[in-house]
């Protein structure tokens, strides 16, 4: 059928198809991620989770969506109309843009930029603007506090996140996500970067910073319900609030997808079809994020900053040196032991330096 169409229509058609795929994939993953999260956290807490709407609660996201649409959209009178209105839109745009660069399967990357990774990092750094607009626009003390906290957190976690990606680029020699996945193709599709010492450390740091980047569990300061009610989206309701919610979940999906691409070999896998590998790895990482949410209490603002600047950042710098050494050293066991030794030594050293934050031993007497 496509044979007789003029070529410029072909180009537009392919662009439209990929846009439609992403525009459909994004919100649907978001909806079913909310359901997955509520089910998994429920199961962790010995309860069932939503199971009333649809067979196993499968229609629950639809019900939430309809509820969000019909909820009244209240705009506080002192609010700054432009900033208040634009903030939710400007927070969803980067979340959707970033889908373009993720390699879902062999040859299934929407736009195979040769600066894919840099595109991902650049776009995800613009969300701070939207959060500023949300917290400034709603003229509410709680949202101002939330806004300040989230921007400080995002800025200070972006640095170790970007630096933890550098070793991967250094070894593969290209910024394109597809090349990175191809570079992990050895040993029948199991030669993932995570099995190298620097890869494991970089993966842990990248994943922690990713969790902090999308304001999820141990780092969910900005919308800390127990302290400042709901942070920068206190004054939002109805569809605008749903957009914030959607952006958070899409970010968590893309961060997990990118972590899988960079360190777990993206769609590389021995037998199963490539896209199945990709989605399995991504959903395992999402499960870990939800697991964090179901278990861990929250950091305080200053502890969060110290963790980023005094612990993760030096670790990533050392990791880049080790990756450099790894690139030039001959492929022998000595290389592995050397790098593993250096990394564990530096991890222990940094932990000693941050001794102030380690838990103290406590002794309790018993009077009568």
């Amino acid at each position: 059928m496509a044979g007789f169409l003029p070529d410029w229509v072909l180009v537009i058609k392919s662009v439209l198809i990929s846009i439609a795929a992403i525009a459909f994939l994004g919100p649907v993953t978001m909806m079913y991620l909310t359901l997955l999260e509520r089910k998994v956290v429920g199961r962790m807490q010995n309860r069932i989770g939503p199971n009333r709407v649809g067979k196993w609660g499968l229609l629950q996201p639809l019900a939430d969506g309809v509820k969000m649409l019909t909820k009244e959209d209240i705009v506080p009178t002192p609010a700054d109309p432009i900033a208040h209105f634009l903030a939710p839109i400007l927070i969803v745009v980067p979340a959707l843009l970033v889908f373009a660069v993720i390699p879902f399967g062999r040859g299934m990357t929407a736009v195979d930029l040769n600066v894919g990774l840099l595109f991902f990092i650049a776009i995800s750094s613009t969300t701070t603007l939207a959060i500023f607009m949300a917290s400034w626009g709603s003229r509410n003390k709680f949202s101002l506090l939330g806004g300040m906290r989230s921007v400080a957190q995002m800025v200070s976690y972006e640095v170790p996140m970007v630096l933890s990606v550098v070793p991967v680029i250094l070894i593969t020699g290209s910024l394109s996500t597809n090349d990175i996945v191809l570079a992990q193709g050895g040993w029948g599709g199991l030669k993932w970067f995570i099995f190298t010492p620097w890869g494991l450390l970089a993966f842990i740091i990248f994943y922690l910073c990713g969790v902090a980047e999308c304001n999820r569990s141990p780092f969910d300061l900005p919308e800390a319900e127990s302290e400042i009610v709901a942070g920068f989206h206190t004054e939002y309701s109805g569809m605008k609030f749903a957009l914030f919610y959607m952006a958070e979940f899409m970010n968590s999906f893309t961060i997990s997808a990118l972590a899988a691409t960079l360190f777990l070999g993206g769609w590389q896998g021995p037998v199963l079809p490539s896209w199945l590998w990709f989605f399995m790895k991504t959903y395992v990482l999402i499960f870990i994020m939800i697991w964090f949410r179901g278990t861990l209490p929250r950091f305080r603002v200053d502890q969060l900053m110290n963790l980023a600047w005094k612990f993760l950042l030096p670790l990533t710098l050392i990791n880049i040196f080790v990756a450099g050494f790894w690139y030039f050293a001959p492929n022998t066991i000595v290389r592995v032991l050397m790098s593993a030794g250096v990394l564990s030594l530096s991890f222990w050293g940094l932990q000693k330096l941050n001794q102030g934050y380690a838990p103290e031993k406590r002794v309790y007497q018993f009077g009568d």
Binding site: S226, T295, P297, Y357, Y364, F366
Partner: protein, 386 residues
């Protein structure tokens, strides 16, 4: 020399604008309708004024217009987490006033019920403290799973899960139904297993330690001077427990220890509550072992008033009965003028008095810490505002 080199011409004072924020009365983590008028400089708390009275229903005025037994169900609603120990305190006060004796079996049942409420209270408080720290409801739901088992026993014994209204002056309302002691024994058997699992989840958790250690430190002499009682006092290292000080009811027969903390910060208050739960389990095991199988459950002197509580006229005089409630020392001061209604009825609410030093603990800490410190003080607004 470095300072000299970088001398800034006119050092502009950058005192940022302080922010006055109202946390409460409608706030997810103030444990009820309680307002804190907080002035913030950036994130740190500069001043914190508690505002109360949103749940005030003049419980004392009500009690002065109804008979002694009729105000027993109202004491359930003081600290609605521990209705049995509230009843215990009110029963003790009136027994001291009318010097009634309490038969053996009733004494044992009272102690068993009081210690079960201590388990329920401490487990729920730790759950709520973790909620304030940000753990998304998981510890609370583990705690509530154990609380359900104990509330089933309360419902079986007294008829209601939280509003038990089970104790009467001189004993208890009705004897235990058949099989209840076995069920209590079973709950006590697998409570330690749950506690160990709870501790592995929480005690060594680095984030919890970072957030709770050296936060809201309460020095021992300030605690005694500010009449702080309960786990907060013992977490600061002061060895004072009303069960050991007054030896009321039959607590002198049980051997149990009083866990004492060192620094008196939020972490010590959390861990002292865990250790107190283990001590309560010891008391419960001993009580279940020694409880007399049969025996009457209310003193002879109260026989005529069982069917007609309004005729109960204690002799003229006053009495102050106090008990070691899970939140602290709960006392009832009652003055009788010979009529069926008390002349003066006063509740010494531990939650209210433990709030005296809330501002001292929170100043200098961050907003997040102020919420956690309030959570560690463990207040219930029904008792604060009585």
């Amino acid at each position: 020399m470095m300072e000299k080199m970088f001398e800034v011409q006119d050092p502009v004072n950058h005192d940022t604008q302080t922010l006055q924020v109202n946390i409460g009365p409608q706030h997810p983590s103030t444990h009820g309708v309680f307002r804190m008028n907080v002035v913030l400089d950036g994130e740190t708390v500069v001043s914190l004024k508690p505002v109360m009275g949103y749940l005030h229903r003049n419980h004392e005025q009500i009690a002065e217009n109804i008979s002694y037994t009729a105000s027993m169900p109202y004491t359930d609603r003081l600290d609605y987490f521990n209705s049995m120990s509230n009843n215990f305190a009110w029963a003790l006060a009136v027994e001291k006033l009318a010097n009634l004796d309490v038969p053996e079996r009733a004494q044992y049942i009272r102690v068993i019920m009081a210690e079960l409420t201590r388990l329920v209270n401490h487990v729920s408080v730790i759950g709520f403290l973790l909620n304030d720290l940000g753990a998304f409801f998981t510890p609370v739901l583990y705690a509530f799973r154990e609380r359900e088992k104990i509330l089933d026993i309360f419902e079986e014994v007294s008829g209601a899960r939280m509003m038990c209204n089970f104790l009467r002056f001189g004993g208890i309302k009705r004897d235990l139904p058949a099989g209840t002691l076995e069920r209590i024994k079973e709950v006590i058997q697998n409570f330690p297993k749950f506690l160990d699992e709870f501790e592995t989840l929480l005690t060594k958790n680095e984030i919890l330690c970072m957030r709770c250690q050296n936060v809201g430190v309460l020095p021992a002499e300030l605690a005694v001077n500010a009449s702080i009682t309960g786990p907060m006092l013992r977490a600061s290292g002061v060895n004072y427990d009303v069960r050991k000080a007054d030896k009321y009811s039959i607590y002198d027969r049980f051997d149990f220890k009083i866990p004492l903390g060192q620094t008196g910060d939020v972490y010590d208050r959390y861990y002292c509550r865990v250790l107190e739960m283990r001590e309560s389990l010891k008391i419960l095991q001993q009580a279940l072992r020694d409880i007399p199988v049969t025996g009457e459950i209310i003193s002879k002197k109260m026989a005529p008033f069982v069917k007609a509580p309004r005729n109960f006229k204690p002799p003229v005089g006053e009495a102050y009965g106090r008990v070691e409630a899970p939140k602290g020392e709960l006392g009832f001061y009652v003055v009788s003028d010979g009529t069926p209604q008390p002349w003066r009825y006063h509740v010494r609410a531990p939650s209210l008095i433990n709030l005296t030093i809330l501002e001292d603990l929170c100043i200098g800490h961050k907003v997040a810490d102020a919420i956690v410190i309030l959570g560690s003080i463990d207040i219930v607004l029904g008792e604060v505002d009585h």
